[in-house]
Subunit: 290 residues, 7 copies
């Protein structure tokens, strides 16, 4: 136990020694300096990246406009990782910690770190392939798991998605399994109309077809004339008719709202009612007579 | 700590040295050149792949038409992976990074990378077997997990599926466990009709059978005469009759819509009502008399 | 960096050298030849396998008819794996890639591949035991997880199941945990009939028992006389009677449809109504008098 | 590349050489012979196992009748595994494959196999403990996960359960976590009766108690007099009374059906109605007067 | 291939040799003898264990009565594991199998076994801590995952729970994560009473409070006077009042049944109705007048 | 096989030897002595721990009252682990088992144990951090996963929570991921009141606001005046108003009950009805006239 | 066994030896001293950290106000970890335990610890990246998994979130996968209004649009004029109109409450009713005439 005593004495002696405090202060100052330099480097680097992309935009080398912003934001992201990583190693060496020996001295610690860090590695690998395979770009409307929205940034480790109600979803790339991208192809608006069984299905279809005919000229986002598919379902009290309309990407929600209103008004004008739930009430039990 | 000081001085000295900037600039230029060459190679390679498939199409060697497009898109995919992989290694060597030493210097880093990369390896292995076993080809209508649509491309690492409403689902091959392929066999349209308990079941069956008899001549996509299976369910207020019809692959949804309309009209003409929900209302409690 | 320069120069020199292109072309031709030979071998092998099974069918060695088709399809499957595997190794050697060194040079790559390939190994092991333990054969009606249908092929790595609506489910063997096989034993048709509380339960039971008595002579797929189990449930407004009938494998769905219709008609003829939902309506609150 | 050429030439030379075909044919014959011998051994072994169990049944050594069938089927199962395993090794040696070297030459392959085979090992270990701890025997009614039925066989790797509707569930032992065994203790039939709030609870209880008194003499499977627990629930429109009855194992479902019918008839005779759903309808809003 | 031939000849020679059969028979006899001895040892051991616990019950050393049965059953369990484990090793040595070499010859097999056996080890470790930490004892009423009932035995590897309807749940200890023990503390009976909005809440509360006052003298299992908490919920058509009553462990279900009946009768006598669902019916739409 | 024979003879010889039994009895006695000493040590230690905490309570060193009980119970827990662990090792050495050799002789067994014990290690690590980070203390009301109640003890391996209905939940610390602690901050009582669409929202708000004004003086647990947030929802037949009230920790449930009753009575006095479900009944279909 | 005897004697001898107790007492005192020093260091350190942040706030170096509090709380957290970690190692050395040897002596223990500690390592790595990538700061309103609230502290190992009802959720950083941050962008209030089919949709839209026009001047938290999107849904008995309004972060809930009330009152004044559920009652079955 005398080792501890010695240790305590040494610590106290060190704390009373002026040099300790000088060295300590010097170390603190160096660390602060490193952090400031790192931040300046990142700011400077970001300005450069944006300038390069500006120049590139007027050069003949330009390829895919959609990936420009993705790459620009990714380079910002990589830059800050690299600069801070180097700054971190430098700070460790200021604090007299030998990183190499740390990483080599595996044993239990190495096992735990190796396993604990695997999800970090997976994040970076998956992130790399998301960008490389162009699964989605900044600005695309995507759904990842339960989150849906526009991609804000694709980083090395995380992707940020902004939903239409304003919140930002931050998803580690390693958690991104299936991705649904809404911005690559045209979208399809789907409108279901229910009419009662008593209505004439064929008349209702004629009325709707007549209306659909006039839509392409009114709605520019329509890629082609909407289509009345037919009787989608025979429900307990109603017939469901389905209409689909191909639109430019992500225009389907707005168009469907307009179509719903138009068809409702048209059916009203033609005396075709949208179906209410219906129930047959038997006030007496026809068999027992009670 | 003098090591860090020295390090800082060296860095400053280097930053002031013109050679550093020249070498730096030269490296940047080389990297840009590599990227450009890689992109040119990929474009050139893709043109070649498509030409080969065109030639092959007129040769007597041709085997399975359905796999042609799959293979063509896969080769594009492999080409870009291989070219970019080589380009990436070249860039690393331009940046004076020794890849071999990196991979050999396992320890903690190796453990983390090995574990983190296992899902990447699994993606490639599974992707290879999807193509090799011909589980599905480009153009097939499939369901994978919760996603359904037409296969757009099968890549080494991911498969892209386009749903009928336009969105593209990008699925890592390693996440593809069970696959349901709708394009291999004929499809079956299933139509359930509910009639009230009061209706004559046998009459309803005769009416429907009569209608089914006329269907094959009207609907070309029918493989054989639809079949009335019988009483599928005795619900709380209705009898459910089930009709099935074998059609050519993926024609069942459209046919079912037509069948629903036809049967509804036929039953109307024969005075057989589709069942509404029914409830017996007892305005007094028969026992307590309240 | 001169190494890269040299590398670039070498590449350019090589590209300008005619021999490179000759060797390249020769390699391509060899690969094509290998693929063609592999395909011919597989076709030839499949013909042989089917002939062997034909001969075997007339030999006295024949054992289990149900496993014949399973084995025949499995041998096809193994044949193509083995031939393509050898072709793949040959192509790698044409491309001057040393497979053995690859597999031996473990390190990070080996770790990742070893982990990534474990599900492939699991698929093959499980597949082997499915066939060896005769869990199901080609043609059996099975349910695996959420998929149900007839087994089309059992391969080394995947099993294909065709559902009754036509789609093919492809399931990696390693994902097959619990299997439900419907083709081994007789099936049981279960029919639930609801009658109102007001009906005489004992009369209804007598009527149904009388009908069940006549069923075995009408339905050949019945293994024995159906059984009326009794009052399965006292629901909110109805009594549920359960009838069960043992049939030959997978005949229960068709039989249940016929039984439902027969019992409904019989009850109608005996004036016993199937129960409608019933509700007691109190138009005034008996306590507050409002 | 000359290596491949040589390889191809060698293969062609071998294919033209008669000896190759002879050796090949000899190998095929040997393999067939091994398979036949293995099958004969298994058949012979199974007959022996059954005879041993027959002898044992008349010996004084006999212990637990319930485990006899389990052990007999398990020995069949182990026998076929052992015989086929030895036959498999012999076939491999006929094909000149050195198994030991395969297993020793670990590396990537070993890692993958070791991981892939762990679920196989887990199956066998769990299977062993299921039998050793007598968790269930052949013939017991059990529920494992979502599957319920009678145990058909307990094998080293899988357990087969036959449900009452005829299908066979095949479950790998390693997937068997929690087991529910219904055949060890007496079962309890639970019958819930709902009466309207307006009924006299105490009278209803007296009527039911009177009926329960007479049950033990009528139903032999009753272990003791059923018990009326009391008011299990005060629902929105009804009072729920719960009756429980201890029966011999797995007799509870049949007994409960009889009890439901008996109680329903008894309540009818005593003028106590089973409760219908009840709703107070206010045709005017008492406050706003609309 | 001559090796196999030799192997076959050797086997045949061995089978013809009388010694082989003698040795074989001798081995079988020894194995049977070992099994019999093992069973006798276990029976003898179990008797001893129970005697020790009987003696202990009269000694002054006695500590925790609740753990006695747990320990007694556990010792039985450990005894049979130890005896059978030694018997198993002896049988292996009779069969000339060198266990040590097996365990040492790791490689692929060792990897698979090590991984496959980890859940077995986890079972034993968790089982040990369940007993050591006295999480529950034999006889306690517990809920583990989805299973609830009285603990029958706690073994080294599995725990058996008997539900109140008679089935036995067998749970591997490693699957026991969260345990809920109902037998340590007093239980609380919770009774919710709904009254219509039209009733006087304060009067209802007075009536119920008056009843609760009389309960402690009638129900001995009550630990203290039940408490009327107040208005638990304002539902769509009713006010819910909550009453709680602390009882001796596991007496709450029976007490709650009695309380429900008592309160229902008391409210009836005071003219306070339990609430029925209520709905305001507007026979005309007050706005459109249709 | 003679080895086994010798082994059996040796065992029999040993069993006949008196010394064996003496040594055996001596060992048993030692083990019993060790267990008794261990139990005495634990009892003595627990008394000491409680005395230390009593002294500390009057010392000026006292810091955080809330953690006292946590630490006291934890020290009890650690004490018994340490004492029993040492006792266990001593017993093993009495039984001549060399623990060190066991742990060193890794191989397959070591792999299995290492993997199987990882959840034990995880429990202890997580438990340590729960206490160190003061996530919750004994007496706090917490929710962990699906379990909610007051913390009884925090041990090294498990945490015990007592729910308000009396049952004790025992949760391994390693299973504690997210913890919700209700005892750190003030709680908020949330009361939702529904009024019919026909009522005057502004009048209802004025009435409620007037009542809320008087609450702080009546309910001491209120931290500040409750707040009427406004129209939380426009339901199918009602307007929902939300009132929130900040209370002292865990007082919100009781306060909400009082608030519900007060607001109900206040609205009654002001002639504002709480909303019943409302439905518009159209006795004729306004369009088809049926 | 004499070893144990010796061990016991030694222990007794030691317990009788005064020195043992002195050393023991000395050790206890040292441990207490270490704990006190550690606590003093942490208090002193926390004061320093807060002073540094105060100074920084007036310095020109100041960068991102939002991260200040995060960093301040994080430094507190790191400080206590580091001080206690050093204290822990010192205590271990006081107790003569050689930590280095412990960590080096891997074997089974090392495997278990390495695996068990991986989630701890993962917590720290993920925590580091949460702060480094500025996923959220102290004070932000976030949703992590099923928990939502304001961030209280971000520690190295856990993050604390305070929900609006007062409870504190403590989440290990390693369990934080997807994060949703509500405080970065403006929020969007979504209000759905249902009107009956009989109402004039266009009139309702005009009335609402007129009201929305006046909102920006009344509600300062509105970023721009709310928007009436159109017919969001055609329900069974009603038309749903959707209004969205962009607000400052986290103001949407309060604004939506006001908007609901305003729109309800406005529609009332314009005689447009909010829709009640509607049902068509057919008192006779129109077909069968019963």
């Amino acid at each position: 136990m005398s080792i501890t005593e010695k240790g305590l004495k040494k610590i106290i002696a060190k704390l009373q020694n002026e040099d300790t405090w000088l060295t300590f202060g010097e170390g603190i100052l160096k660390i602060i300096a490193i952090i400031i330099v790192a931040q300046l480097l990142i700011r400077f680097g970001k300005v450069m990246i944006h300038n390069i992309f500006k120049i590139r935009n007027i050069s003949p080398l330009r390829t895919n406009v959609r990936r420009e912003e993705t790459l620009s934001k990714l380079l910002d992201n990589i830059l800050s990782y690299v600069v801070y990583f180097i700054a971190f190693l430098t700070i460790l060496s200021v604090m007299n910690i030998d990183v190499k020996a740390l990483l080599a001295g595996a044993g239990i610690v190495g096992l735990a770190v190796g396993f604990g860090a695997q999800s970090l590695v997976k994040d970076v690998i998956t992130g790399f392939f998301i960008i490389f395979e162009d699964q989605f770009s900044v600005g695309d409307h995507v759904r990842i798991g339960q989150f849906e929205g526009n991609v804000e940034t694709i980083g090395l480790r995380t992707t940020k998605i902004k939903s239409w109600t304003g919140e930002v979803h931050i998803i580690p790339n390693g958690s991104i399994l299936e991705v649904t991208n809404f911005s690559i192809n045209n979208s399809v608006a789907v409108v279901d109309i229910t009419i009662p069984y008593k209505e004439d299905i064929e008349k209702a279809q004629r009325v709707i077809e007549g209306l659909l005919e006039t839509m392409p000229e009114r709605y520019g986002e329509l890629v082609k004339r909407p289509e009345l598919l037919g009787v989608q379902n025979l429900g307990p009290t109603e017939v469901t008719l389905r209409i689909v309309a191909e639109t430019q990407p992500m225009q389907h929600a707005a168009l469907a709202r307009n179509m719903r209103k138009d068809i409702k008004l048209e059916l009203d004008q033609n005396g075709i009612d949208i179906s209410y739930p219906r129930v047959v009430m038997l006030s007496k039990d026809p068999v027992t007579g009670v």
